[in-house]
């Protein structure tokens, strides 16, 4: 049956879109968050120039670094189409582990490394339950949240850890003139970004989240990868716990209420799709910085403290809606 074939368009003359366009189309949400940060900086600095003094920049960029680090692991988990609501409790457990080791005479390096491995171990169990037992991750981690939170209290009885050796308090130190938490955040974010962008393992995270069925058919060992991703997330939680534990000279055995929600919020506001398969860790780190900026900015421009949380909520909502409008325009 003879049918006229459509003409084949040769490649020539078809140019790739410009760099800015590509960045904006690929990293749209990151751009929105970055724009929000810049906008806040400009506006607040106009109102109160002290906002950009060096110390305040340190406070903004390093004060929430542990949340950003935890959000890196969370971003990976969310990209595979899963979620973890137990990470807040896990950070509490790991901080206590680090502190306990440090004051009971173990070498400092051991106290600093142990939480990473404990975090990996705990999350490996979670990962196995998700990947092999096929329990939805929200169910497993809701359960883990209860277990870790209850376990922490019943083991520690809620005592605080003080008398920490000075060398242990790495988050208070500076390297090359920059605060260590900030360096951790930046280095880990960039490393994780590059790893996810350019390593085969990293790409498979996107693949699993984007189309799990296809991942199986392509020969990606989905179950093993899922366990690994949870374990890596545990390692990041370990690093976050260390930054959390070494910022002050005492370690509280309770963690900030709703820490897990803060971390998840940072991740999704940063553009990681909860449906899996897209987003970057740069976005989640930018979102953490955005939260810190908002918190600081509202104090600087004298928003009544009572309304502070409402304003934060409104700004988060605005960011979300801005992203949605951007997407709708594109389609």
């Amino acid at each position: 049956m003879a049918v006229n074939l459509p003409p084949i368009r040769p490649q020539t003359g078809q140019k790739r879109p410009g760099l800015m366009r590509r960045i904006f189309s690929e990293y749209g949400q990151e751009c929105v968050v970055l724009a929000a940060i810049v906008l806040l900086f400009v506006v607040v600095t106009l109102v109160n120039p002290r906002f950009i003094n060096a110390n305040n920049l340190v406070t903004i960029f390093s004060g929430n670094a542990y949340i950003a680090v935890a959000a890196i692991g969370m971003a990976m988990v969310i990209m595979t189409g899963n979620i973890d609501v137990s990470v807040g409790a896990l950070i509490g457990v790991l901080a206590t582990v680090a502190g306990t080791l440090a004051v009971s005479g173990y070498p400092i390096w051991f106290a600093l490394v142990a939480p990473i491995f404990v975090g990996m171990a705990v999350n490996t169990v979670i990962g196995v339950l998700v990947a092999y037992a096929k329990i939805p991750s929200i169910v497993v981690t809701l359960g883990a949240l209860s277990i870790l939170r209850g376990g922490l209290i019943s083991v520690t009885g809620g005592t605080w850890i003080s008398d920490l050796p000075p060398d242990f308090l790495i988050a208070q130190k500076r390297l090359l003139g920059l605060p260590v938490p900030f360096l951790f955040m930046i280095v880990l974010t960039i490393a994780a970004f590059l790893w996810m962008r350019y390593s085969a393992f990293g790409r498979s995270i996107y693949a699993i989240g984007g189309n799990p069925e296809a991942a199986v058919a392509t020969g990606i060992p989905v179950e093993r990868r899922l366990v690994s991703v949870f374990a890596i997330h545990g390692a990041f939680a370990g690093v976050a716990a260390i930054l959390f534990a070494t910022q002050l000279q005492v370690i509280q055995s309770t963690v900030p209420p709703n820490l897990e929600l803060t971390i998840i919020t940072a991740t999704v506001i940063g553009g990681v799709s909860i449906l899996g398969g897209s987003g970057t860790v740069i976005g989640s780190t930018l979102a953490t910085i955005l939260f810190a900026t908002i918190g600081s900015a509202l104090i600087f421009i004298n928003v009544s403290a009572y309304w502070l949380r409402a304003v934060i909520g409104l700004l988060i909502l605005a960011t979300v809606l801005a992203d949605m409008l951007r997407r709708h325009r594109r389609t």
């Binding site: 049918v3 006229n4 368009r9 790739r16 790409r203 069925e213 058919a217 392509t218 398969g277």
Partner: protein
């Protein structure tokens, strides 16, 4: 260049799902440099057999021999390593990743440092796509922006990137328009020349005869026959598949054509529906032909209220109406059987009963309560009327074969007693037997005075079934052709024509 030793051979393959045997002791083999067609009705077990060859399913029993060596495929990786690549029925790509990544995911070329060599990934993808005559596809485009035909090209490039000795293609042409089918067949021949062995599954007889060297027919999970293509004719193949002869492929029922039911005047919606006008009469089948992206589906969606028209006029039985939602369309007597059965047509985990009643659930309720007895009655009636093969009406639709699933969608919409029925690719991926049944149903409907708007990418189907045809290109109607004047050449010309250059 066909060698006579099979590259891969399967013997005594059996497989059961939840206690039901879907493959019974099947033998199958493929040689290098041949096209081996695999035929069978929906649910005959073709995809299941293929998935075992690909290492996706483990056989309950049976042996796989590759190059004379017995193999166990524990995972898809083992099959790929053995030189077997698969293009699945439901294209398995990663929508958020780029074309190049999709092609090389899982076996990226590495730099010496162990990182992915992106330059090589892109260059080699370009090369593979060029080999497939697909020069217009950007290797950096995200797959989610591609059309079905383009995605398929990516799948084939992916298979080739692994230097496959055997390429399995499960219904590769199911969602392609004719022109793309031709290009695909070209590619298949080219691969055969290079010595690749190809397993080719399709429900379209014309392709089988144009391509295949050998055919194997499955029925109800059992092996019926394997023979050279020269030994059989179409009639024989069909009766081997169905177990009975089928007289005519496109039975055109003679129905009386009545007054105009639906009239559309210069309808517009976005880029894909521009200035469309036509009339549809009672008892008439109006076929719409066109290439992928010609806007046929968009037109249907606009008529059905999914994407309401931005301008233009729609008249139902002479009365101007506004259609802003599928509910309004339904209440006006328009029904739409969508092109993507799994995504748009069915709630697959739900029972047949609930799917059938879905569009008429208000009618089947007193107040807010569903009248379960009446609902079951209607469903049973539909199962009987359309010959839906199922255990009972409470069986989840996901367990039915493709053709039967399609009948459930049609049954659902006929429950609304529509005046206008829009069928978008009604027989896509449906076997010959079921296809004939669906065509028979269409014939009965027009006899009862329903007006049918049929979109199909299978030219013989449009030509065979329609009373009149619209041809679309670039979002516009480029030709309106009566049954008597319709020839493949005329329609083909109009499909690629631009407005103003209407094929007269």
């Amino acid at each position: 260049m066909t060698s006579h030793e099979p590259f891969i051979s399967l013997s005594g393959m059996s497989k059961s799902f939840v206690g039901i045997r879907v493959l019974k002791d099947v033998d199958f083999d493929v040689r290098e440099g041949e096209v081996h067609a695999l035929l069978g009705e929906n649910g005959a077990g073709k995809s299941t057999l293929i998935k075992m060859m690909a290492g996706l399913y483990k056989p309950d029993s049976g042996a796989i021999t590759v190059n004379g060596e017995e193999m166990k495929f524990a995972a898809t990786g083992d099959a790929t390593a053995a030189g077997i690549a698969t293009v699945y029925q439901e294209l398995l790509l990663f929508p958020e990743l780029t074309v190049a990544e999709n092609v090389f995911l899982g076996h990226y070329p590495r730099t010496r440092a162990g990182w992915i060599d992106w330059a090589a990934v892109r260059a080699r993808t370009r090369e593979l796509l060029d080999q497939l005559d697909t020069h217009d596809l950007d290797v950096d485009a995200k797959v989610l922006t591609l059309s079905v035909a383009q995605r398929q090209r990516v799948e084939i490039a992916k298979a080739l990137s692994r230097n496959a000795r055997i390429l399995i293609m499960d219904e590769p042409t199911a969602s392609l328009v004719e022109s793309d089918v031709q290009r695909l067949m070209q590619v298949v021949r080219q691969l055969r020349e290079r010595g690749v062995g190809i397993v080719y599954v399709s429900h379209r007889m014309s392709e089988i005869f144009a391509l295949a060297d050998r055919v194997t027919v499955l029925r109800d999970g059992a092996h019926v026959a394997t023979c050279d293509i020269g030994e059989v004719n179409e009639q024989q193949l069909v009766s081997m598949m169905v177990g009975r002869p089928i007289d005519s492929l496109f039975p055109k029922a003679e129905a009386e054509i009545g007054e105009t039911v639906l009239e559309v005047k210069s309808l517009n919606h976005g880029r894909h529906v521009q200035d469309i006008s036509f009339r549809l009469r009672r008892g008439e089948i109006l076929g719409i032909a066109g290439l992928v992206g010609s806007g046929r589906t968009e037109l249907a969606l606009t008529l059905f209220g999914m994407t309401p028209a931005t301008s233009g006029e729609i008249l139902m039985e002479g009365v101007p109406v506004r259609i802003g939602s599928p509910q309004q369309a339904r209440d006006l007597g328009i029904a739409y059987v969508p092109e993507d059965r799994g995504l748009q047509g069915l709630v697959r985990p739900m029972a047949i009963r609930k799917n059938v009643s879905m569009a008429t659930i208000e009618k089947l309720s007193s107040g807010i309560f569903i009248r379960a007895r009446a609902e079951a009655e209607r469903a049973r009636e539909a199962v009987r009327r359309f010959g839906i093969r199922c255990r009972d009406i409470d069986q989840p639709v996901s367990e039915l074969s493709g053709g039967n699933q399609q009948k459930v969608v049609i049954a659902k919409w006929l429950e609304t007693e529509p005046k206008v029925l829009i069928l978008d690719e009604p027989t896509r991926g449906v076997d010959v037997g079921a296809k004939a049944e669906i065509h028979t149903i269409m014939g009965e409907l027009v006899k009862r005075g329903v007006a049918i708007l049929m979109i199909s990418s299978e030219l013989p189907e449009v030509l065979g079934m329609s009373d009149r045809m619209l041809v679309m290109s670039g979002g516009r109607v480029t030709a309106e052709i009566d049954r008597a004047d319709a020839t493949p050449e005329r329609v083909g010309a109009a499909m690629t024509a631009h407005r103003g250059a209407e094929a007269a």
